[in-house]
Each structure stands twice: as structure tokens, then as C-alpha cells.
Symmetry: C3
Subunit: 458 residues, 3 copies
Amino acid sequence: MRKVMLMTLLLCVVCGGRALAQESVSATETAIAAAKDELQTNINVVWTCVAAFLVFFMQAGFAMVETGFTQAKNAVNILMKNLMDFSIGTIAFFLIGFGLMFGATKYGLFGWSDFAIKNVLGDGAHWNYSFLIFQTVFAGTAATIVSGAMAGRTKFRAYLVYSVFICAFIYPIFGSWAWGSLLNGNGWLEKLGFCDFAGSSVVHSIGGWLGLAGAIMLGPRLGKYGPDKKPKAILGHNIPLAALGVFILWFGWFGFNPGSTTVGNGEIGRVAVTTNLAAAAGAIMAMVVSWLKGKKPDASMSLNGALAGLVAITAPCYTITPMGALAIGSIAGALVVLSVLFIDEVLKVDDPVGAVSVHGVCGLWGTLACGLFSAEAVLGTAGENTGLFYGGGFGQLGVQLVGAGACFVWAFGLGLLLFYAIKKTVGLRVTIEEELKGLDIGEHGMEAYSGFQIFSTT
Amino acid sequence: MRKVMLMTLLLCVVCGGRALAQESVSATETAIAAAKDELQTNINVVWTCVAAFLVFFMQAGFAMVETGFTQAKNAVNILMKNLMDFSIGTIAFFLIGFGLMFGATKYGLFGWSDFAIKNVLGDGAHWNYSFLIFQTVFAGTAATIVSGAMAGRTKFRAYLVYSVFICAFIYPIFGSWAWGSLLNGNGWLEKLGFCDFAGSSVVHSIGGWLGLAGAIMLGPRLGKYGPDKKPKAILGHNIPLAALGVFILWFGWFGFNPGSTTVGNGEIGRVAVTTNLAAAAGAIMAMVVSWLKGKKPDASMSLNGALAGLVAITAPCYTITPMGALAIGSIAGALVVLSVLFIDEVLKVDDPVGAVSVHGVCGLWGTLACGLFSAEAVLGTAGENTGLFYGGGFGQLGVQLVGAGACFVWAFGLGLLLFYAIKKTVGLRVTIEEELKGLDIGEHGMEAYSGFQIFSTT
Amino acid sequence: MRKVMLMTLLLCVVCGGRALAQESVSATETAIAAAKDELQTNINVVWTCVAAFLVFFMQAGFAMVETGFTQAKNAVNILMKNLMDFSIGTIAFFLIGFGLMFGATKYGLFGWSDFAIKNVLGDGAHWNYSFLIFQTVFAGTAATIVSGAMAGRTKFRAYLVYSVFICAFIYPIFGSWAWGSLLNGNGWLEKLGFCDFAGSSVVHSIGGWLGLAGAIMLGPRLGKYGPDKKPKAILGHNIPLAALGVFILWFGWFGFNPGSTTVGNGEIGRVAVTTNLAAAAGAIMAMVVSWLKGKKPDASMSLNGALAGLVAITAPCYTITPMGALAIGSIAGALVVLSVLFIDEVLKVDDPVGAVSVHGVCGLWGTLACGLFSAEAVLGTAGENTGLFYGGGFGQLGVQLVGAGACFVWAFGLGLLLFYAIKKTVGLRVTIEEELKGLDIGEHGMEAYSGFQIFSTT
């Protein structure tokens, strides 16, 4: 009897010890996990914010590209537009756009919460701010694309009105369809499985198609099409600035694409590699195609080719192999040259810097490329998301077509409406006298290059 | 008896097990805390250094803004000044300034240790270097502000002498009053509770008031004021470069303000949001006010408005709400336009790029704004630090007035002394012939734009 | 007997408890170490990728420096070369160079594995991509140095051919000798103990000596040497762009040198400090020496002086004290002025932007400086690696001489061969007519500054 009691007691002791030890193991695991989680969040914040700053810097890139590729007499005007679309966009997106894009939603059509986020302390508050600044600079990118397509003839007031609408409504509502679930939303396109990792459609095509609508509504610059209806080149006045702008954009894209992970881990390097390869391939192919078509390697086309590769790789950068990136970038580089010529010569739409081709067309191409090149080896799983060329069938490609189509209808359609409304109210285009003299004098009362001898080039 | 012994033994076993387990729990906690600490320090280093590099890049921004907003014939000169004030400042701050600013102090008037930090290995050594590079680029920012206010007529030698003094003495001693405790110091202003998170006063007003002293001591550029004493605009020669400079500065400010946390956590995103909102609001309001006053939206004013918003949000960026940031930035944008006109037309001081208004006046505004807008909801506690508009009374505002006043007296007073001493020794202003011909030829024997046809604009 | 049994049992319990506790301690240690390792890897990835992006941005810096310091009529051409050497280099290095540089090797002469890295998932895969993007931008830096030395007269096709060879073969093979063991290689120079932390030789001298070979093979630009064989200055056309380029390069160098740790810890700050001090000292000393020799403080020389300091500190940045950095940078600043004059006046080699002096000569100086200034206090151990001036004898200096010599023989020798082969096939130099008219029209059919009145300066 005593023996039994003793054994029972001993058993209790043993079990108790084990339980105690296990309890402490489990508490330890929790403590490690909590510490790890906190630190990883901090790493994510640092990375996401640095990426956001790089994307912000793309504003300087766009400003330089658009200034350099257009005429000296309109330089101040385009710089002011770049400054103001970001400034207005920042505030419009903070007050309205962010809530429409990432707020809670019932049907996946737009969000309705998180406007002008106010909570500062408490769970998740800090991440929200990092996410907000990252998303703000994305909205600003979409906004600023349009100024290039409308350069040289748009009233400054008209452009200010446009800037409010894109960042408060047009961009965020489409964004909510594809990306809403990144916070509190859940858009209809993402429910379908639409893939647009960093925004070939969400950012670039939206900007490009809006620019197309604007350029059509404005009509071409004076002297762009002669009496024979043939396009005349209106040369950019400062290629070094344009080239600087392209380098800045390429630099900023390392925040745009790898930053879209919003997580500080090894994926950053992988996405940086695919992004860089596509840009390089785009520049080379655009040079080659322009060389074949025009007998000389064209600098403007090559620079736009790098941007074309970057725009195209933006959607698929996360799900394709490096070889896929080379293919996607190469095709984008060829495509942008052909598209510029097509829009200029066949459509006869005057897009001074090629923004529609670079952002609209190559954004479309990149979106479709997700459905062609997404690789099982990268996705980690076989399944519906695999692209056509990697054995995935037409499923994902179909979804991509739906998304890209929705993007075109939404941005181009609303763009026509918006610019038509502006035309009928504020007025869209400057007077002939002002256009000839330059918008810098007409709209802002100053010159970009005081003291320099500059010839009229139109 | 045996039973008692047995029970005792068992008790020992149980207690021993518990003790052992607890011991291991406590050892585990220590190990987790140590690992966490080490990793968080590494995150802090990465963030602080990246922020420092962004702030360094502001040197390029200042160089472009000052070059673009002044005349072509003085471009090389202003670039050399920007290069040299940072180079000389780097070494002066390393050898002397850093120790005066962050060294140990008895009365809180200046530090006296940590000169030319030498220890490489050992506790804290690594953090010290990260802190040093971060503080060096801050000193360089204060130094370079002054060249803008003194552009177009200052002897190069005189400027070199000035550069030593600001980074070795003027900047660091004021800095020790407000920020000394970040390392080993403890300044009298911080003891009072002075709030200047990232340096509206410490960096920007110091630079602005020194520039004011320099501009007064120099007198206006030839042709700036006609025989009727009315100011004449001397136009900037390269607005695209100036705009690029503003974008670079805005980009760098994401290191300046969020970097001043020197900690890699969620506060980075929050400070980035307030910083960006203030800049946007500043640009818009400066445009609006210039439009109302001058009938056209002025590009130079709008660009300066963005900088004004950035300077103003620098002190309060950490303690105000996003809505507060919008208010502070908006007021700064209006203020900078009025201040530029006041200094130009009423004070008749010739500040070619508006540096006094942007950095001096808006730095003052931002410093006071801490005492108006600091919000309990952000501070996390009710108390003395709350601003007037958020129910905190006049306490904090009073302290801010003391700090801002001390800043003006110190920088403007020493500036007058320093530039007077330079005037009487090295000489402060170039000859009339040299000024007319341009400082590029006179001081450096070269032109900025060889081959370009440039008209004299004065 | 029963007592013994009991005691045994109790002992088992006690021991079991202890064992259990110890087991859990050891499991805990492993868990903490694993979590720490994972997080530190993530910190390393974030840092290394951000550094890579900064180094990428140096492409913009080189483009601006080379454009600004050369003639307006060749601006488009040099920009295209900068764009293309990086684009072609990216792909050549990905497909071929990376494997030759970091692949497994038997004799330490070149690697042979890891071509076009394909694995995406699995151990180490992620780090490999971060490492690849970091190394790609380094290869791109070496490549782009050469365009400066060959500016103003090189056929565009010839330059494209060169770009393939440097990034596929010349750069990576030398790189494998010094850095192969960073991944899977083990080069003969690193086995000797050769010190080149961030690439004074591996990147800069390789580029500089290749440029020297190219400049010699090309001959000077028309009008560079008069009938009296005296050098004539062919002035740069845009000093603000050149200055911007130098600031961008300085900024990017904070990725180049501190990034070469590829580890996110306190060493970043230390290397940033030494890098910055050397750049500052270089700029000041170049100004002083140019002032003494030419009677005015020369802006081009001062700007090149900053770059000289940066190139020189690249090899020793990790192993020297801040005071050592000041010395190394100062000497580089003086050296670059003397070297430019020597190459221009004595060797009569036409190097339009001073690339050979900045990158070749100062790269050599920096490599030797490792053997002179490496300090025990920094290395943490006494031993062979200590430099001559810090009591280490001639050992390390000898190794540095071997490495720097190998670098010269390899790059200059292969450069002569390569450019000779290009000359005999594709052709190396444009026609006299094209050179006079400018390469922009001749090679690319466009002007850099359409509308501006620009005089011919040759």
C-alpha cells in the first residue's frame, strides 16, 4: 500500500516536473515568437518606408523625363504640374483615396473606412502609417504619368482639377478592386485571382489610359501634324535631364517593385534581380528595334525602352524567373517603339513623351505577362496561377485579360468624361498665342532658362 | 520517521525541479532580451545610416536649388561653396564640433569630450559611428543653407573661413543646448523641456539667421535695388535644376525627420506621413498665396513653399497629428511668400534664393508650432508638453519662445560678429568688376556652360 | 533494499528533471539562435539591397559627371553609352560574369558554377539574389568608368562590344582572384591575403586601366594637342550637371563601401565615417593643390578630388582609423591633380574627364594604402595584416603591390588587346567629320539641347 502511494507520489513528481518543463518550453516559444514578431515588424517598417522614399523620388524622375523630352518654353509649366499633382494628390489620397482603396467593403467595389487615419497609438497604428506613406507615393506615381501625355498645351487650372479626381477617386477605386485586401478591403478582381504584384495595371496603365484620354480630348500641339497629316518631331530640349530622369526612375523602381513585398526578407533581392534584368533588356531591345527602323540607335527610344521594361515587369516581378524577366523586358522594349510609332503615325494622337506607350501599353503587356510567364518553380505550388508558357493553361491569362480590360474601360472611360467636363467648365487647352509663346510665360509669368539664347522650335 | 524523510525528500525534488525550471525561464528571458537587443540595435544602425545618407543627399538638393535660382555667371562658384562647406564642415565637426555638441557638460553650455572619436571596438563604439555620420550630415545641412543667402557677391576665401566656424563652433554649441543629451551632454534648453525633434531651430533657423547676418553685412547684389530703392527681380537661370533640387530635398527630408528617431520602428512611418503632408500643404498654399498676390501661380514660390512646409514640420513632426501637420505646412506655405516679399521690399535685404524666409522664418514658425499643436493623443500622456491648441496652455509655447529666441540671438549675433571680422580681415565681398563679370570667371577662372550663348541679365 | 530502490528512484527523478530542464534550455538556445539567425539574415538582405540600389544610382552620377565635363555636341552619345554599358553589363554579368567570379574554382583562376542562378526556393536561394544584385551594380560601375576616358571620339558600336567583354570576362575574372570566396570561389590573390575591401582595385583600377588602354588606342580628340604638342583645354559644357554627378556618386558610395560589409550591423556607421572623411579631405586637398598650381581654386579638380578620396578609401575603408582616412583622402586629392596634369602634359594621353587619374591611379593608391594604414586597433588583432605605418612591416604592403600590379597587367594588357581587336574589326574611332560635328548627330541623329544656341568649342 505504502509502495503504491510512494509510486504515485513519485509519478506525480515526475509528471509535475515534465509539465513544468513543458510549460516553460511553451512559454519560451511564445516569448521567442513575440520577440521575433516585433523585430520582424520593425524590419518590415524600415524596408517599406525606405522603399516608399525611393518611390517618392520617382517624382523627380518623372519631372526630369517630362521636362527634358519637351520644349524649353514649357519647362516651368511641366515642373509645376509635377509638383502640384503630387502635393494635391498627397492630400486627396490621405483624406479620401486611402479609405476608398483600403477600407472595408461589402461588394468589393470600393472601401469605406480608414479615411484620414487618426489613431496614433495602439495595435497596428504604426504599421498603418508606414503603409499609408507607401500607398501615397504609389498614388502620386499614377497621377504624375498623365502630365507627360498632356504636355505643352494644357491649362494649369485644368490640371489641378484633374489631380484631385485621380488621387481621390479614379486611382483608389480601381486600386480597391485589385489590392484592397492588403488592409481591410477585398476587391472583386482579387477575388478572381487577378495578379498585379506592384501595379502594371493599378498604377501604370491607369495613368497611361488617363493620359490617352487627355491627349485625345486636347488634340495635338500646334505644328505636330502638318497639312499633309504627317507627324513632325517636336524635339525635347534637354536630353541629359531626360536621361537623368530615367536613371532616377530606374533607381526608384527598386523601391516600387521589391518594396511591394512590404516585408523585409530575401524576396527583396529576388524581385530586384527580375526588375533590373527586365529594365536592361527593355533598353537594349528598344535600341535594337529603333536602330533597325530608323538606321541609328535612338536615345529617346532606348531611354523609354528601359522604362517600358520596368513598367512591364511591375506586375509579374514576383512570380516569374529571371529568364522570364529577360523575355518580358525584351518584348516591352520592342513594343514601346512600335507603340510610339503607331500612336504617333496611325492614331495621330500627340503624346509628347510617349507616356501612353510606356505606361498604358507596356502596363497592359506586363499584366498579361503574369498569365504567360508565372512559373510553378517560383510560386512554390502548381496550380491555377501558373502562366500559359509554364503549363498553367489559359486560366490565369483569362483573369489577367479581365483585369486589364477593366482597367482600360475604367481609366479611359472616366478620363474622357473627366476631361470633357473640365473642357466644358474650367477649359482644357490654352490659347494659340499662349501655346506659341510657351506656357511658362503664359501660365506662370517666367522663363525656365533666363539669360540663355533659345530658338523657337515650333 | 522514514515517512517524514521521504516526504521531505520528495518536497526537495519538487521544489528543486520548480527552481530549476524557473532558473531556466529566467535565463531564457535574459537570452531572448539580449538577442532582441542586439538585433534591434542592428536595425537601428541600418535605419540611422540610411537616413544619414538621405540627409547627405540633401547637399545635392541645396546645390541645385541655389544654382538654379541664381545667375548662370555665378553657378560654378555656388557649386564650389556647396562642395566646400560640406567638406570643410565634415572635418571641423569631426575634430571639434561633435565633442562640443554631444560631449559631457557641467552647466549645459557646451560639451567637452568625444572629440574625434577614436575607439573602434568595445561597447557602444559602433553605435557612436552611426550617430556621428548622422550628426555630421546635419551639421553640413546647417552650413550649406547660408551660401544661398550670400550668393552672387561673396568672396570664396571668406566663405571657406565661415565654413570652419559654423561647423566647429556656432552650430554645435547651440546644438548642445537642445540635443546634447542624445549622447553624453545635457543642454540647458533641453532641461527646460524645449522641443525641436529634428531641428527646425537647431539646423534650419541657425542656418537662416546666419544667412540673414551675412546678407546684411554684404549688402545687395548690384542692380538688385534701383535708384528708386525698389527691388528688381534677378531671375534664376535654370528652373529645372531648382525643381530637381527641391525634389531631392523633399526626398532627403525623409531621412531628416523620420531618421531623427534613430530607432527602426513604426514611428518612422508616422513621421514620414506628417512630414509629407506638411510639404504638400506648403507647396499648395504658397502657390495659392502667390497666385492671389501676383495673378499667376509662381513656380519659385511654390517650390519654396514645399521647402517651407518641410522646415516648419521638422521640429513638431513627432508630436503632432496628421491634421496638425496639414495646418503647420499650410501656414508655412503662406508665411514664406509673405516673408520673401517683406525681406525683399521692406527690409531691403537681398537674399537671392529666399533662404532666410525658408529656413530662418519657417524654422521659427515650426519651433513655435510645437507649443501650439503638440497633441496629447500623440504624446501618449497629458502634461506640460501639450500644445496650446490641444489644451496644454502656454507652458510649452513659452519654452519654445525661449529656445527660438536664443537661436536668433546666438546665430544672428555671432553671424554679424563673424562676418564683420571676416570683412575686416579676409574681405567679404568681391570687386564690382568681378561681380558684373560673374564670380565663376573671377573666383575660379571658368564658366559653368562653356559653348552656350548666355546674355548678361544684370 | 527498499531504501536503496527508493533513493535510486528519487535520484532518477531528480536527474530526469535536471535533464529535462537542460534539454529544454538547449532547445531554447537553439530556438533563439535560429530566430536570431533568420532575423539577422533579413536585416542583412534589407541592408545589402538598399546598398545595391545606392550603387546602382551611381550610374546616374557617372552619366552626369561625364556629360557635364565633356562637350554639348557629344552629350547624347555619352548618355547612351552609360545607359548601354549598364544594360548590356547586367545581362552579360548575369549569364556569364557572376559564375566566373563567384563560382567554384580549383586553382583560384576563375569560377565555374552558378551561371544565371536559377534556384528560387530552398536554402540560401534568397541571399543569392541579394548578393547577385549587389554584385551586378558593382560590375556596372567598373564598366561605366571607361566611357569617360574614351569620350568624344569612340564609335558607338565599338563601345557596345567592349561592354560585353568587360562584364562577362575582364572584370569578373580579376574579381574572382580577390573576392571569389564571398560565395563559392577562392581566388589566388585572396589566398595571399590581398586586401581590397570594397574594390579600389577590383572595380576602380580595373575600369581606370581599361580606360587608359582605350584612350591610348584611340588617340586624343581633334584639337586637344596643338601643333606645338601642348595640351589645350576642351571645356566641359555643364558644370552644374557634373557637380550633381559628383554628389550622386558620393551618395552612392555610402552603398558601395559600407554596403560591402553585406551585414547589417554597426560596422556600417564606421565605414560610412571613414568614407565620408576621405571624400571631404580629397576635395579640400585637390582644391588647395589646384589653387597653388593654377592660382585659382579649380572646380573640376575639386570635384574630382572628392571622387579621388572616395576611390582611394574604397579598399582600406574597413581596416583603417578615421585619422587614417583623412590621410588617405588628402593624399588622393593631391595625387589626382598631379596625375591629371601628368597624363595630360607628359604622357599626352587625352582622358576627357580624368577617369584614369581618379579611378586608375587613386585606385592603385588606395590599394597600397591598405598595406600602409591598416591598424591593429581596427583589425582587432595584431598580425600580418597590419600596415607599415602601424607597425606591421612590409608584408601586407608587398601583397598589395602584387595585387595592384596584377590588376594593372590584367586590365591594361587585356584592354590593349581588346581595343586593338575592335579597331581592326568594328572600328574604334569615328570619322573626322563626325567628330567635328559631334557624335550626337553622327551616331544618334539628334541633339542634346534642341533650341539652344551653342557655339562650337573645338
